[in-house]
Symmetry: C2
Subunit: 316 residues, 2 copies
């Protein structure tokens, strides 16, 4: 049976209510709650392939790099992404295994460290836009050395945040584990954080100081596993028009052409909802299947199409 | 064909000549050199299962935790172990894939995040002995909060180092990837750093604030994959008697009983050579096959039994 690709938001996974700044304890508790619901869905006969974000987690690792840099060497950003694939992937698969075992289900549940290739000439490398890490106060940007492709950007009056390139994913490099696990009906957590970014240089793949939007990578992953549905889970209830105004209204079910027009008209700004809508549109256009965007807390209802926003193929 | 389990030392992998304290750049270069040789051995028809240490790498992550702890939350030690499995596993498999491709060989080469169960009642939890992280100067131990099972230990006059428990590995928990990859003749890097330590509590597996000796775990891994040889690679040329005295002599080929007597007589102290010799003895006793301990720089010759110390079954 073909799979559903489920994309879990990094913010949603890490519990934004955590006053202590994304402790391991809070992440584990949030992952446990999500895994219990995902296990129910798997027990109901669905085959899932899971991808997750890592924004807050990779941000914290960069801060540690910065604060410890005079004592132990900072590691490159793509190593930080790999580190978040390990911690989130491990906790997510451990929780899923536990929840599935409690339901008498024994299938491989495997985290896959996954590199994703981006284009070395992607314009994003000249124009870093993705903010990660803490906001730092000061008259001038912090005196912390950055890779060539990163920058400090003003984030309000006397406040600064690092921005990094977010190039478009081109190809999932490490597909062996994904293929082996899905072939035997197992559950794989892959492409975490959008994937560990690599570029081709002189015929070899080398790590890139960037991050990749996980919703964009989710489309590549859905294509790879021939998914019959893409479900993007976040911390809002769905896609809204005129968001934040008194005309705001949530979309229930929209054709891909209609959604494309909303996107082009600038309805979703240039933040994370814009990326999610683009990914949903791309998936529906590529496959003719449907996509959904909804709240992680309603994961079951979103997967079943009873909550959130569905993007469907145009009527024939 | 049954495999050879190759255990790569964390110090050896990270290049102890690196004056900058184990930068990513130096680790990658060292891994590239090792991978080229391992690829030659694979091209020669050997099937390898690889485990690696992580001492310097996990130490650096703990230091980052400590230095950034007032800004971003410290993560538990078992998360740090998972993070080193990700970075070393990714770089090692990437380099191996590249070297194998250059030799026209295309097999799955996969890093497996692996949890390893230890006993919650292991005496090591009351007696932390494994030093990790930087040595810190001061009249008194640093004012850095530690988990209950960790301690600061004097490391010379006015110098302190953290010690953590190193319980005995009982069982490899995450075996799915290892089995799938070895079944298709692929190469798997598993149980990095000795494995991500977990204990059973109320019927559930939870992370443990410990590290596991990777040579001990190598024996479990060798048993799991029914290896026909265990090869432990480090930064010395083999096992020596009367090490560091003017009577010092390296052992070439020793029966398991003879090596057992040397071990019991205290020849190898209680450091890392002691653990390697114990692991080699345990493997030979369990399987009747042979084990070897030798220099990573001589990896090919050690695997072939032409360098290092071989431990073989007693003559019938």
């Amino acid at each position: 049976m073909s799979s559903i690709v489920v994309a879990l938001g990094g913010n949603a996974l890490a519990s934004s209510e955590d006053p202590s700044g994304y402790t391991a304890e809070h992440q584990i508790a949030q992952i446990a709650r999500t895994s219990a619901v995902l296990a129910e869905i798997i027990a109901g006969g669905q085959s899932l392939v899971i991808i997750h974000g890592n924004g807050p987690q990779v941000g914290n690792l960069l801060v540690k790099n910065d604060l410890a840099r005079d004592v132990v060497p900072a590691v490159p950003l793509y190593w930080c992404v790999a580190q978040t694939q390990a911690t989130i992937g491990m906790e997510l698969t451990a929780a899923l295994k536990r929840e599935l075992a409690a339901r008498g289900i024994s299938v491989p549940v495997v985290p896959a460290l996954t590199r994703v290739r981006v284009d070395a000439t992607d314009a994003a490398f000249d124009n870093p836009t993705k903010p990660i890490g803490l906001v730092v106060s000061g008259d001038t940007p912090p005196d912390i050395p950055l890779p060539d492709t990163h920058a400090w950007r003003a984030a309000g009056r006397m406040r600064w945040q690092r921005v990094v390139p977010s190039p478009r994913p081109v190809e999932i490099v490490d597909t062996d584990t994904i293929a082996m696990v899905t072939d035997v009906g197992g559950i794989v957590v892959a492409c975490g954080g959008g994937g560990i970014p690599v570029v081709e240089r002189d015929g070899e793949l080398v790590g890139a100081d960037a991050v990749i939007d996980k919703d964009r990578t989710a489309v590549l992953l859905a294509k790879l596993v021939k998914a019959r549905r893409l479900v993007i889970l976040t911390d809002v209830d769905g896609v809204a028009l005129d968001f934040g105004t008194d005309k705001q209204r949530f979309l229930d079910r929209v054709s891909v052409s209609e959604m494309g027009r909303y996107l082009e008209s600038g309805q979703f700004g240039s933040g994370s909802m814009d990326a999610k809508v683009s990914a949903a549109i791309e998936f529906v256009r590529l496959t003719g299947e449907s996509a959904a965007i909804g709240n992680l807390k309603q994961v079951r209802r979103v997967i079943e199409g009873r909550s959130g926003t569905s993007v469907v193929a145009d009527p024939a």
